[in-house]
Every structure is written in structure tokens, then in C-alpha cells.
Subunit: 357 residues, 3 copies
Amino acid sequence: MTQFVRNAWYVAAWSSEIDDQLRRFTILGDHIVIFRKSDGTVAALEDRCPHRLLPLSKGKRIGDTVQCGYHGLTFDASTGMCTRVPGQTNLPKSAYVERYPTEERHGIVWIWMGEAAKADTSKIFDMPEFTAPGWAVHLGDALHLKSNYLNVAENLVDPAHISFVHPTTLGSSASENVPVHVSTEGEAIVAWRWIRDAPPVGFFKAVGDFPGNVDRWHYYYLYTPCTAVIDFGSIDVAENCAEEDRDRGMRIFALHFLTPVTETHTIDRWAHIRNSALEDDEAAARMDVMFRKAFAEDQEILEAVQEEELRPQKRRPLRIAIDKGPLVYRKRINDLLELERTEDIASDPSPAFVYHD
Amino acid sequence: MTQFVRNAWYVAAWSSEIDDQLRRFTILGDHIVIFRKSDGTVAALEDRCPHRLLPLSKGKRIGDTVQCGYHGLTFDASTGMCTRVPGQTNLPKSAYVERYPTEERHGIVWIWMGEAAKADTSKIFDMPEFTAPGWAVHLGDALHLKSNYLNVAENLVDPAHISFVHPTTLGSSASENVPVHVSTEGEAIVAWRWIRDAPPVGFFKAVGDFPGNVDRWHYYYLYTPCTAVIDFGSIDVAENCAEEDRDRGMRIFALHFLTPVTETHTIDRWAHIRNSALEDDEAAARMDVMFRKAFAEDQEILEAVQEEELRPQKRRPLRIAIDKGPLVYRKRINDLLELERTEDIASDPSPAFVYHD
Amino acid sequence: MTQFVRNAWYVAAWSSEIDDQLRRFTILGDHIVIFRKSDGTVAALEDRCPHRLLPLSKGKRIGDTVQCGYHGLTFDASTGMCTRVPGQTNLPKSAYVERYPTEERHGIVWIWMGEAAKADTSKIFDMPEFTAPGWAVHLGDALHLKSNYLNVAENLVDPAHISFVHPTTLGSSASENVPVHVSTEGEAIVAWRWIRDAPPVGFFKAVGDFPGNVDRWHYYYLYTPCTAVIDFGSIDVAENCAEEDRDRGMRIFALHFLTPVTETHTIDRWAHIRNSALEDDEAAARMDVMFRKAFAEDQEILEAVQEEELRPQKRRPLRIAIDKGPLVYRKRINDLLELERTEDIASDPSPAFVYHD
């Protein structure tokens, strides 16, 4: 069974998905009721009354409280504490629901799934292009994938698959044998390659206007646990573009915010930031068409892989050279899980046993 | 896992659901084939041939026997004993199916799910208003609820929920803080309250004709394991009605006969007995509309609660003042289950160990 | 849980089901990709890439290799060995998929599900009437049954059920009490009976032309694990036909090739060989109508039996005289399973313990 990294910020929703209605979201297997308070900020509470377990999302919002739809127990949206138990005047200590810290930025609602005391908003993923001049931000869909988040994340640090999974959109057979570089940059795992002097791939035929061959790049940045940025683009081969001058070409950051729903269900909220056609909504729509086509290709693969993973396995899976990025990712996730499992021990000042030499 | 109380009478069906066809019913997890014999009485047999396990309901009735549809083994409807094995002349001892005692009263077919020797028809639920003059009996629907019977039964000894679950039908916010009384009367657990001098609730607006405020009562009688009677009604506030004079008002007994199907599926066959509009089928139909609306409100709650109960629980559920009735019910059920588990021990004349002082 | 006999030939498909496309079949719980190679012979490989487990059937055929649709690993159709790993030049030892021996005969594709070294094509079921003059072969449907293969096979060595399950097609009540003979002939279990001097049953009314009563025979041959031949026919009672002279009548071999898909799903590919109306496709079509009707009757029974077998059972099933054939079959299957479980032990030249007298 996969474990989830809990001390982390996850994307709960696009801002546009949240309003003053009580809405249920499922994240890391927890049911959570999310809504906007009267001041417009986002509240997130455990979606289960501690009395008879009815989801609070079946109840109703009364000001900045939520009233359970079964017996009227009422909870404060900010603290989760019970403020009323009909039929009695005292409030039992255990009358509360968990509340989850949230933070809203650039049209994205983040939620902290771990210990509230550790929630540090400075750790939320950000990049200057969200607000810098010369860049356009476009939020896309919430793609539901019946696959474990680890499989989905691996796919996002894996340039090698695009030659085979996306031959008419993001890749082409020209790249089948072009080596992939992998490194780490702080919290990011980076896998990248340039395909030089080849015809533009389907995506850039659809949204670009290149007269002949291009240099094309793919840089995959994967941030644990669940954020990926794919910096990809093309530039006329005659421009002789250096690796660090990618802004000179048609450059697109494809963003993927993964939300693990259950062991076998992940939402991929995808968006892009581009340096071309800044005011052109039509251009964004044309890109969305290509993205949807490419991500449907991933979906078929990822869901089939998930089904097979659930069946009996007679052999250890084979690992090959192109798996470098995914392997570093899995190791980082395991280290985070191990840290969460053992941090209570580490903080214990009186060890139960002592080693002697 | 819930256990079922087996030494008890349950409602198998309305009489109108049973005819001379072989029909399968599932009660306490048992598949049972039920049909009328040539004398019109109801037979109930284990719905599984002991040979190759084919349900007998897939076979055919031949007189007062049932012939299996696979190899023709034939069973007597009254005793369950095999009367024919094609291809041989002897009848093996183990060639039989279980038979269940049944009893039909007031258009209701009761079935005994425990040891046949303990079936005592004098224990079947009855009330004089079924046949007394001045009362009209009206049988309603068989409502399928994807919820454990304990959750459904609790709901039927819980006047507090109606303010929140049924605000436009059976209750109103006027009753939110009116205290609930709970007591026991023999085999019944009783929870009740009067809401004095308030506007009539939706139900009585639809079926009554009150000019102004009314006194309204709800008496919930829950008989273990699975029968509930809700005595509710309204009377013009000017009548100054005493608690014991409820017949003077518009009085309705809502009856609920719960049949546990499986751990997570219960049938609620509901009916009512009323002291008004005795010959008026239109009035009964108007009441059914209101009942169906109210019970659909319960259904949404009870099925959501069931789903949550099946998920992992991190905390013990909270119990509050209004849970008195449900808590007494759960205790009585547990006592009955314990009795069934231990009665074989109690009847053992030679104990394996003896206490000494 | 049922175990499957693995060292055996099973029917994978009719020849007409296999072409040059990659198609997934599930046999004994294994997913297998089957297709024709460029020389027309049939390849069968484990349908799962050893790298990221994507089914190879989601990839593409390139000549006589299969390329995985995720990262392009390529496997030889004849050997299952990996011939290419994009991104690297070496081929890891564990880069292979299992391959299954196959053999095609009379329009039927057989597959060997056990150790490849033991695959002996001389053990494949055959009968001279497939090619002998005076006989017409007609392949029917692939009938999917949601039932364990043991239940399906038992039904095919069980003449007693036809009086009850097929009273209007293959049987009639005239045979209810006619005894069944059971014997073994080499690998076959044989159950048979003659019903003398009775009206023709529905099947022979539809496809024969008998003026009056007939002698009718049913010989059920069941070959372990999964092939059945039912030799049945009718002849005018005036012909006074001896048992060994069945060719004189209207004789039909109904063939059933069972393919266990999972524990609870079996495919029955049925066919017939007849000695009448040899060139008459209309006659074959009329027979198919009757077969489909009769097999739908079996399907209802077998799927209901399977459902009951999965439920808790309080008693040991009853066994009766007509079960002789099925009981011999179950014993033979158990012996084969025991043999497969213990053959590794038997081949061990240095026993771990030694008995002394």
C-alpha cells in the first residue's frame, strides 16, 4: 500500500472551484469539506461529524459555521470546534472536526495535509513567471486519472516516453535515441534533452509558425511530492540557440499539480505559462486542444499500468537507463515517508535503550 | 461485523407481494424462497438445493412441492424434506432444505429466523388499532435503504433529528430546543416530546385543516429488534389537549417494519393507521406523498452515514444527550445477541468448571 | 480457490479470432497477447512489459517483434526476448516476456499453459471426423459463462440434467428416470444413456424429419481438463438400431472446448460435427439456433450455481447417484493438480529424509 507524504502542501482546487457552497473534496484519502468564509478566505474541515459521522457537506453553512444535517451540531469554520449541540448546553471536549490550513495564490488553492503546526506558506511552490511581465498564465483542467500518484509523477520526469506515447503531439520518432540528462537542483529533480535540427512536432505545428527545422528542448522539473514543471519549446534552427537562452524561442512551462485522491486515483490539475501570444485567448485554446490530446494518451498508459500493478507479479520489475529520474523521485518520496514515520522517535528525549561500545 | 438477532419475528413481505410463484427474498443474509401453498398459506424454504446449490426459486412449483431446476430434486413445501431424487429410489438423510415458520396477519407476512422450536406467534407485534373501529389502516411501500438496520432503527427512536432532516415535512425549527423524554415500557423504548402552540408542520398543512397554531406530539416506540411505531399528531391549540387525550386530535401511527437484508441493506416497510378521513383514499395518498418525501430525506442521511461507517475511523464517535433512546436500543440488541451466543452454554447440565468460595 | 491444471493444451481461440493485430486474451488468469507473425503462425506472449508493466497489446507490432507503447522496449515474437531498450545499448538478462507454445489445427488455436519443455503437440485433442469423408464440421460461438470451469465441465458429463434444464430442446420428461451409465475410456470419462421409442425432442424436430417415435442416445465424453464431446442422435424406432451402429442415425458430435479465464469466468467455444445435410449451411444455422437456446439454459443455471458457491455454506453439498461422472472428473482434476504440486519433489535425487523398516 502506498503511503502519502502528509507534511506537504497540495493543490486542493483551482480558486474557481470553490465558492460559498459546502463542497466535498477527497485528498490523500481524507474527505474534506471546503468553502469560502464570509471574508472570502478558504476554510477546509474534516467532512465528518464526530457524532453520527454524517458528512458535514450534507449540512448547511450558517455564517462562518457549518451545521450538521442530521442533529444540528455546529462547527466553527476557522477552528473546527463545535459551537452548539442541540438538546444540551455543555460542549464535550471531543466535539470538534479537524481543520486544514489553506493558502490561495495565483488562482490556486493549496492545502496542508500534515501537522498544522508545521504548515509554512513559504514552502508553497511558486515561480516568478506567474506575475512577471512578458508571460501569460492559463489554468487548464482537472484531469482525473485512475492511477497512483507515483506513476503519474514518474511520467512527469520521464522525457523518454514522449517518442512512443506522444508521437503526433509532444514528440516524434526523431528523439527516440537522443540521450536524457538527469540532475538535481535543490528540491527539483531535472531531466532534460535537446533535439536539434528536426521538424517541429505536432504541438508546435499547431501553435507555432516555424518555416523549417527547429531546435526543441524538454526540461522536466519534478518537485516532491507532487508538482511538476515542464519547460519545453522550439526555436528556428537558424537562431542557433544556446541552452541558457530559451527565452528567445517559443517557450512554454507546462505545470502539473498532482493531488492524490486515493491509492488508485490522482487528479492532475494542469496549466501553462507562455512567452508568446500573450493576449491571445485563441492561442491558449489551441494549446489546450493539444494538451488534452497528449494527456489522454498518458491517461490510457497510466491507467493500464495501474491495473497491472494491482495484479499478482511473478518477477521484480526491470529498471533501465532512462529510469534515472523516476528512481531518484521514488527514493526522495521514501526518504520523506521514513522521516514522517520516525520523527516522533527522534524527538523523544528519553530513549528506551542505549548503545554501548 | 453486525450480528443479527435470529430468534425473532421479522416482516418478510406485505401479503400482496406473495402469490403462487416462487420468489426469492433475502433476510438476515439468508436467501429464502417464499410462495403460497394450494391452501393459501405461506411457505418459506432455504433457497438453495443441497445438491448443486441452485436456488430453488429457479425451479418450479409442482403442487405443494418445489422441484429443483437442475436435476429435479423435489422438496415438500411444509417440511423442506426431499421427496424425490431422480435416478435413485432412496432419499439420503441430508436431502432437505431449511424451512422457516411464517404467520400472516393484517396483510403482513411474518417470518421466524431462529430455531423453529422457539417460534411463538403470540410474540408477533400487534396493536388493537389494526382492527378497532374508528381507525383506518394503510400499507405503504417497501423502501430499500443501503444502510445497516441498526442505523435505521436508531433513526426511529430519535425525535431530535426531525428539526434538521425534515424541516418542511415532519418537523420545523420550532422544535430544535424542545427536550426529548425517554423511557421504557416493557419491550418498547419510548422517546417523546410535545411542541406546544406552534404553526402546523408541512405534513399537517398538507393533510389537516388547522386554522391557527397547534399542539403537536411525537411518541417514538421502538420494539427490539425491528419494529417501530411513531404516534404523532396535531390538535388545535385552543383544545388545550392533555397528553393522554391524543385521540381527540388528528392522530397517526406511522409503522415501520425493518427487515435486515444484509449488513448494509435494510428494507423499511412502512404503513400508517389514522383516526381521520377513514374512508378517504385520497387522504391516504396525500399522506403517502409526504411520507415518501420525508423518508427520502432519511434515506440520504442513513446511506451517507453507512458509507462513513465503512471507512477507517480515527476517533471514537461522540455521544450526546439526545442519544439516550438509541443507546438503550443498542444495549438491548447487544443483550439479545449475547443471549443467543450463550444459551447453549446455559443449558449445559454438567459445567466444565465450578467456582468455590 | 480453484487451481488450474497448467500442463495442458487449452483452446486459446478459433483461428478466425486471430489476425496480425495485437489482441489480449486471458487464460488461466494470465493476460496473453496473441497475433499472427508474418509467416501466418500464431505467437503468444505474456501481455506485460517487464519494465513498467504496460500490456504489450497497447503497443505495436513491428515486423515479428512487439514494441511496448510506453518506452519502446521491443520483444521478439517467437522467443519473447527483448531485442531493443531505447536509451541504452546493452540488453539486461531479465528483459524478456514469457512465451507460450501454440498449435493450430482444424481452425482452432491451441495454447500450452505449462512448462514449455513439456508441450507435446501429439496430446492435443483430435478426432478423425474432423477430416473424414461423410462428416461436416461447423464451428459455433465463444460463449462467456460467469462460472468456474469445473462447474461447466461437470455439466458436460451429466446427461441427467437435460430432462430438467432442456425440456424443450435437448431433452424431455420421457428421460427423467432412464438410468445413466458411466465408465472411463482411457483419458475420457463417459456417461451415456439411450431413450428408446419416444417422440423426438425439440432439437430433432427442428433439424430432423422423423415421422414417428425414435430411439435417441446421448454419450458424453469428457477429457481432462477441458474438452467435451457429446455424441447424440436419433433414429427411427423401426430401424431397431444397435448401440454400436449410431452412424446409421442422424448423428451429431457437439464439441465443447472450455477455456478457464479466471476463477469465475469460463469461455465455452462450441462446435459440431454431423453426418447429415453435409453441404447444407441452412441446416447448420438451424442447429445453431437450437444450441444457442439450450446453452443459454445452461448459462442461467451455471451462473446461479457459481453465485451460490461464493456464499457461506453451512453444510457439505449432497452427492447423489447421477453424480458419478462429475465425481470421477473432480478426482482426476485433483490428481493432476497434486501431480503438478509434487513433481518437483519427485524429481529431486537427494531426498531430505529416508524411511526405514
